[in-house]
């Protein structure tokens, strides 16, 4: 008889259904409180399969990002004529990215052999071309995300579209080089890449490069509202700069992290 209500209590017990509510339970030792699942994935989450990690290399540092920023400001004069600078620089930027792609592919491939660059074969060229096209299409969802984040709807559309394109080539393109869509487990890998389920991401140079671009772009909004009345505060110059600088910084951080460990 007396057991029945107790049983009821157990089945609906509080701590079972919502562990967080008991995380400051006195019964827990002060030294080891029940912690919610953190970013460190060691605790209670399913152990993720290690993603193949591109080994760090100095050659993988995207120095061309800095070149692009420099060229945009001083060669194309983006501050005074935004849209025409974006248009005229597009081809050059694409070429630079393509070149970087060739170099990355070669570096990643030749890792095991002595670091000797060799000219790419036809398959690799084909892969690069297709990757560029995919990156081009990936700009569409990025464009939508930019709109969701508050980019103006109905005005400055071309600027936003260019920004999306640049971002796509800073994030999707390098990842496509490291994680080929021709691999057998590409689908699973890419789902995990896109949902940020990458263990030890800070050691992954290419991945951190892409992340750096996003973070840089996110931080790039900061100067926009300031009332300094500078040309370079125009949409989307600061975001573009942030993305390029961020992508270099991300790559550099990961590289240094790997070296000094």
């Amino acid at each position: 008889m007396s057991a029945t209500p107790k049983k009821v209590k157990k089945t609906v017990s509080f701590s079972r259904n919502s562990p967080s509510l008991s995380d400051r339970n006195p019964s827990t030792e002060p030294g080891s409180p029940v912690r919610e699942s953190g970013f460190d994935l060691a605790d209670d989450e399913p152990q993720l399969r290690e993603l193949p990690k591109p080994s760090p290399a100095f050659v993988l540092l995207p120095f061309h990002s800095l070149v692009v920023v420099y060229a945009l400001y001083f060669h194309y004069d983006i501050s005074s004529k935004v849209i025409s600078a974006l248009r005229s620089s597009a081809l050059a930027v694409l070429t630079l990215q393509f070149g970087f792609g060739l170099m990355t592919l070669a570096t990643l491939k030749n890792k095991k052999k002595a670091r000797k660059l060799r000219s790419p074969n036809g398959g690799e060229l084909m892969y690069l071309v297709i990757s560029s096209i995919i990156s081009g299409f990936a700009a569409v969802p990025i464009f939508v995300i930019l709109l969701v984040f508050g980019a103006p709807i109905g005005s400055l559309t071309e600027e936003t579209a260019f920004l999306a394109l640049h971002l796509s080539f800073l994030t999707i393109f390098p990842l496509l080089l490291a994680y080929k869509f021709t691999d057998s487990d590409a689908g699973d890998t890419w789902i995990r890449l896109l949902t940020f389920q990458v263990p030890a991401f800070y050691k992954n140079q290419v991945y951190l490069q892409a992340m750096g671009a996003l973070v840089g772009c996110w931080l790039g909004v900061i100067p926009i509202p300031l009332d300094w009345d500078r040309d370079w505060q125009q949409w989307p110059i600061t975001l573009l700069t942030g993305a390029y600088v961020g992508s270099f910084a991300g790559s550099l951080i990961s590289y240094l992290h790997n070296i000094f460990e």
């Binding site: 008889m1 007396s2 029945t4 209500p5 049983k7 009821v8 209590k9 089945t11 609906v12 017990s13 509080f14 259904n17 919502s18 562990p19 967080s20 509510l21 008991s22 995380d23 400051r24 339970n25 006195p26 002060p30 409180p33 912690r35 919610e36 699942s37 953190g38 970013f39 994935l41 209670d44 989450e45 399913p46 709109l147 969701v148 984040f149 508050g150 709807i153 949902t195 940020f196 389920q197 996110w218 909004v221 509202p225 300031l226 009332d227």
Partner: protein, 1011 residues
């Protein structure tokens, strides 16, 4: 849905032996006692939690009060009255005009470009070129009339303007808050001077005048009309017209000065904005009124027509934009009396941008001198040149005379003021001036000499004015410092209380907090009061020292038991243990930090609405990616889905915009009452209850009281609100007014009735119903025949969300009232807010961040986002005064004030209520009720920590920027908003969220099921 065995299972044992029966009874008695004991315990600790929260509330309110007292200081007012003996060394003053009588017509909010001809694409059909008579007269009769641009000193509110226009002194910001109740003016002014000199002042119009000047107005000739009902365009104006002409014609011998104050234009602006056909009608009416007044003037009467301020493009005022500051001044007489300066001064092109302007305080010496009165003692204005240089514009001698009189009075005032007397630069300038005047008196009088002298006079006057303006932002540093320290300490204490000390300990410590605080309050009050009585510091009187004592007592009372038990290093260690749980907390801390830092720059404050939306979207994205770390793949998708919904709702909400003036051309407002926005109310009335139902269905909670509350109650309340706005829209639309003859009275009566019904139901009836304890569960009785045994089971459907669903009904009660007082797009925004909150609650459940800082921060950000998207900005002119008249026709305490408060802070109120849901939503009944209450208190206090951080930041930054150009325009209003939000949050969280609703829900469940 959890399936449990119910007590009815006892029926399985119909034949129980007697001794077992006894055992059972004993057991039941034991259970009863235990139950009662537990209930009593819950009640006591709940009460203690509420009391401690009230203590925190008192501490914070005192802190803000101290800062406000020190920051919003007023200037030094001298009580001296000017006399002719002092100024002109004779019994009566010289009159510098032939006029014996004056008619003053004040047309509230008469912006300058309303009265000048505007051509081309700038011309607006509604408010331009509809009041041409002033400029026509100015052009046709140059010697009889004068039209000038009339610059107000901010704040551009009527009370402050009236003070400035009669005393000639500068306004102070603190007065702006007391726009509702002006006390009789005690500074010297020309109305009291008229009275003192035996002149009769007749008055008709805005009753602000009677509040300020009633002792000086002729009691038989005073016809005041209520002024603050901004929805009423005609009563005051009709009253003025009704009384003005009889007084001008028949009773003209009874008065010397006749003042009429017309409010129609101002109210039209508040209600419809300038771009409305009602504005055209109003301006045309003013035009014909002035026409009639001019034709009935006699030769000895001067007519002065002016606006006290302008209006911005929304029709509101109070700030310091160009449109708000520029009013019109018109003077006219049948005698030729006015001169002209060079023609290029009167350039009406480009909306009169380069037109000659005078300060509003310049009217004071001008009117005094024209009427033969002494210049009011505190006056800082200059005489208006055209009024004294004679019809030929050559009488520089007379101008020099009045100029010197004015300068002398300014000098006298400066010498009497402690703050001003020591300014050597200005004093030196005056000495030069007197020497020059003396030499002019002796030497030969050349026109050029006089011109030079007059220039020197104007220089002195403007220098003196500039110096006063910069000096009168004086602050009481001691009070400011006390305020900042108190708020800082309250922030630290709240953090220790809510996040560092374990909750169980807090529950035990609460009685100690209360007892120690009570004792310490007495001790500290005594100490501070005796300090005050002995040392008599100039910043602290008995009342304030008493408040200081109370706050010190509370600090001591809360700190003592904590310090008694824990050391500082232990508390610091707890930061890592308790406050920071995972990456989410870092994100939350960085958002709090960034939000506090935006007050360091005026640009960020201006764009806060966009910034807040950006952070919320970022939170949504983080939640999206974080969802994929969940173990359960179904939950992963669910989390991702809710995140996406949250992001999209945020984007939708942030596309409702109400721009502040500083945002300029980069922002286009769409917060208007239009046919589609009214239509959207009905759409939300259909959708919102459906959405809430879907969220209830997740836990099978849409049973019991829920359908009544949500499908019937909420929907019908929203429909009624929609109906009210439809009536309001039809009443005001061009289209319907042109097509039909609208029975305005019937419409108004219906509108008010609907509003009162909704208000009554939502705040009184439904809360009464809720207090009786509705639950959203259904008991499903089943009997199964299994192996010849009858098994009776009871399923409690909705068991998984008993607290949350019942609590949410209370949120709906308050929501209805908040919806009622919001404008159409505000209603849409609030409907989205409820949706976002429910989505967020699901996310919190999936991501398991119930007591994480980030959930509270996300809630707080939601409140801010919707503060902006319900059509508000952190400026005085963005307050929706007109919503105060939704429930009542005139100002009725407390309904009008309550409505405006609920309209302005509606999102904050809703969010404060929903904070409790973070721990109540989707949890089954618990046996640890006290722990549940303490978690709710923790979350409520965390929201307070967030807001206190923001408020503290504004206090510091506003104080830091007190000499900043933008302080009164941007920082001070933001600080006032933050102060009011913090106070409201304290009150709502301690008394309503924790005190009333949480306690009720938890106790009710224990009463019913007694777990």
């Amino acid at each position: 849905m959890d399936k449990i065995d119910s007590p009815e299972e006892q029926e399985e044992f119909p034949f129980v032996p007697n001794n077992q029966m006894d055992q059972q009874q004993q057991y039941l008695r034991y259970m009863d006692e235990r139950h009662e004991y537990r209930n009593r315990k819950i009640k006591t600790s709940h009460g203690q939690y509420v009391k401690v929260m009230v203590l925190f509330a008192i501490l914070q309110i005192i802190g803000i009060a101290f800062f406000t007292k020190g920051f919003l200081l007023s200037r030094q007012v001298l009580q001296n009255q000017a006399t002719c003996l002092e100024q002109q060394e004779s019994e009566s003053c010289e009159r510098f005009s032939p006029f014996k009588k004056t008619v003053v017509l004040l047309i509230d909010a008469l912006r300058f470009d309303f009265v000048i001809p505007v051509e081309g694409e700038n011309a607006d059909p509604y408010y331009h070129n509809n009041f041409p008579i002033l400029y026509d007269q100015f052009v046709k009769h140059p010697r009889n009339s004068l039209l000038l641009k009339f610059i107000a000193d901010p704040p551009t509110t009527t009370l402050q303007r009236l003070k400035g226009l009669t005393t000639g002194s500068l306004p102070t910001f603190v007065d702006a808050g007391s726009n509702f109740d002006g006390d009789t003016i005690d500074e010297d002014n020309w109305v009291s001077q008229l009275h003192n000199h035996g002149k009769n002042v007749a008055f008709v119009g805005d009753d602000t005048w009677t509040a300020l000047f009633s002792p000086f107005l002729h009691s038989n000739l005073t016809y005041p009309y209520p002024s603050l009902n901004v929805w009423d365009l005609h009563t005051v104006d009709d009253g003025v017209i009704e009384h003005l002409f009889p007084m001008m014609h028949d009773k003209s011998h009874e008065w010397d000065v006749l003042i009429g104050h017309l409010l129609g234009v101002d109210h039209c602006g508040h209600r419809y904005g300038p771009r409305h056909y009602a504005m055209k009608q109003k301006l045309n009416q003013m035009n014909s009124l002035v026409d009639q007044v001019i034709s009935s003037l006699d030769d000895d009467t001067l007519l002065v027509v002016f606006g006290d301020h302008g209006m911005d493009y929304t029709g509101n005022h109070g700030g310091e934009s160009k449109d708000e500051l520029e009013a019109a001044l018109f003077m006219y007489s049948k005698r030729k009396n006015f001169g002209r300066l060079a023609q290029e001064y009167y350039n009406v092109t480009d909306l009169g941008n380069n037109y000659r302007s005078v300060n509003q305080i310049d009217l004071v010496p001008t009117i005094s001198l024209l009427m033969g009165l002494p210049i009011p003692y505190n006056n800082l204005g200059s005489p208006i040149e055209e009024a004294f240089i004679g019809p030929d514009g050559k009488d520089q001698h007379q101008l020099a005379k009045v100029n010197f009189l004015t300068c002398q009075q300014i000098h006298r005032y400066r010498q009497h003021s402690d703050q001003l007397s020591s300014d050597t630069v200005v004093n030196l300038k005056f000495e030069e001036l007197s020497e020059h005047w003396d030499s002019l008196q002796q030497g030969k009088k050349d026109q050029l000499d006089f011109i030079k002298f007059n220039e020197q006079c104007y220089e002195y006057q403007s220098l003196s004015l500039e110096k006063c303006k910069s000096l009168w932002a004086t602050f009481d540093n001691v009070s400011i410092a006390i305020g900042i320290v108190l708020v800082t300490v309250s922030l630290l204490l709240l953090t220790i209380y809510a996040k560092l000390v374990p909750l169980v300990v807090i529950t035990q410590l609460n009685p100690q907090f209360i007892a120690t605080s009570a004792a310490m309050t007495l001790v500290h009050s005594l100490l501070v009061i005796s300090f005050t009585t002995i040392f008599k510091p100039e910043n602290l009187n008995i009342l304030w020292s008493c408040l200081l004592g109370i706050s010190l007592g509370i600090i001591n009372g809360i700190l003592a038991p904590i310090i008694d038990r824990y050391s500082v290093p232990w508390l610091l260690a707890q930061v890592r243990e308790n406050l920071i749980q995972n990456g989410w907390t870092y994100l939350a801390l960085s958002v709090v930090l960034m939000h506090s830092l935006i007050f360091t720059s005026n640009s960020f404050v201006i764009w806060e609405d966009k910034i807040v939306a950006f952070w919320l979207t970022s939170f949504g994205f983080c939640a999206f990616f974080k969802s994929f770390k969940h173990k359960d793949s179904y939950k992963q998708l669910l989390g991702a889905y809710h995140s996406v919904v949250f992001i999209l709702l945020t984007r939708m909400t942030s596309s409702i915009r109400f721009c502040r003036e500083e945002q300029g051309s980069k922002c286009l407002s769409n917060f208007e009452v239009t046919w589609w926005s009214v239509g959207l109310i009905y759409v939300s009335a259909m959708l919102l209850p459906k959405m809430i139902e879907k969220f209830f269905d997740i836990t099978h909670s849409f049973h019991g009281a829920a359908p009544l509350w949500i499908s019937t109650g909420l929907k019908s309340m929203m429909m009624l609100t929609g109906l009210m706005w439809t009536l309001e829209y039809i009443e005001n639309s061009d289209y319907f007014n042109a097509q039909f003859k609208i029975p305005f009275e019937a419409f108004k009566a219906t509108r008010l009735t609907i509003a009162r019904i909704v208000m009554g139901i939502s705040l009184i009836a439904s809360n009464f119903g809720w207090f009786l304890g509705p639950l959203c569960i259904k008991i499903d009785l089943k009997s199964d025949t299994d192996n010849q045994q009858v098994l009776k089971t009871a399923n409690i459907i909705g068991y998984g969300n008993v607290y949350g669903s019942a609590y949410f009904l209370f949120v709906i009660n308050v929501l209805c009232a908040v919806l009622l007082v919001n404008k159409p797009l505000g209603i849409v925004s609030l409907a989205l807010l409820v949706n976002q909150i429910l989505t967020l609650l699901e996310l919190i459940d999936i991501l398991n961040i119930r007591t994480n800082l980030i959930s509270v921060v996300a809630m707080g950000l939601l409140a801010y986002l919707h503060f902006f998207t319900t059509g508000h900005q952190a400026t005085l002119q963005a307050i929706h005064w007109d919503t105060g008249f939704i429930v009542t026709e005139s100002i009725v305490f407390p309904f009008t004030h309550l409505c405006i408060l609920m309209d302005t802070l509606g999102p904050f109120i809703v969010v404060c209520l929903c904070v409790a849901l973070m721990c109540l939503w989707k949890i089954p009944p618990t046996s640890k009720a006290i722990s549940l209450i303490s978690k709710i208190v923790e979350n409520s206090s965390t929201l307070l920590i967030y807001q206190t951080g923001l408020t503290l930041s504004t206090l510091i930054m506003t104080n830091h920027f007190r000499r900043h150009l933008m302080v009164w325009k941007i920082f001070a209003p933001r600080f006032m908003l933050n102060g009011i939000i913090l106070i409201t949050m304290n009150v709502i969280l301690s008394l309503v969220t924790v005190g009333f609703a949480t306690g009720r829900v938890i106790k009710r469940w224990n009463q019913v099921f007694g777990t």
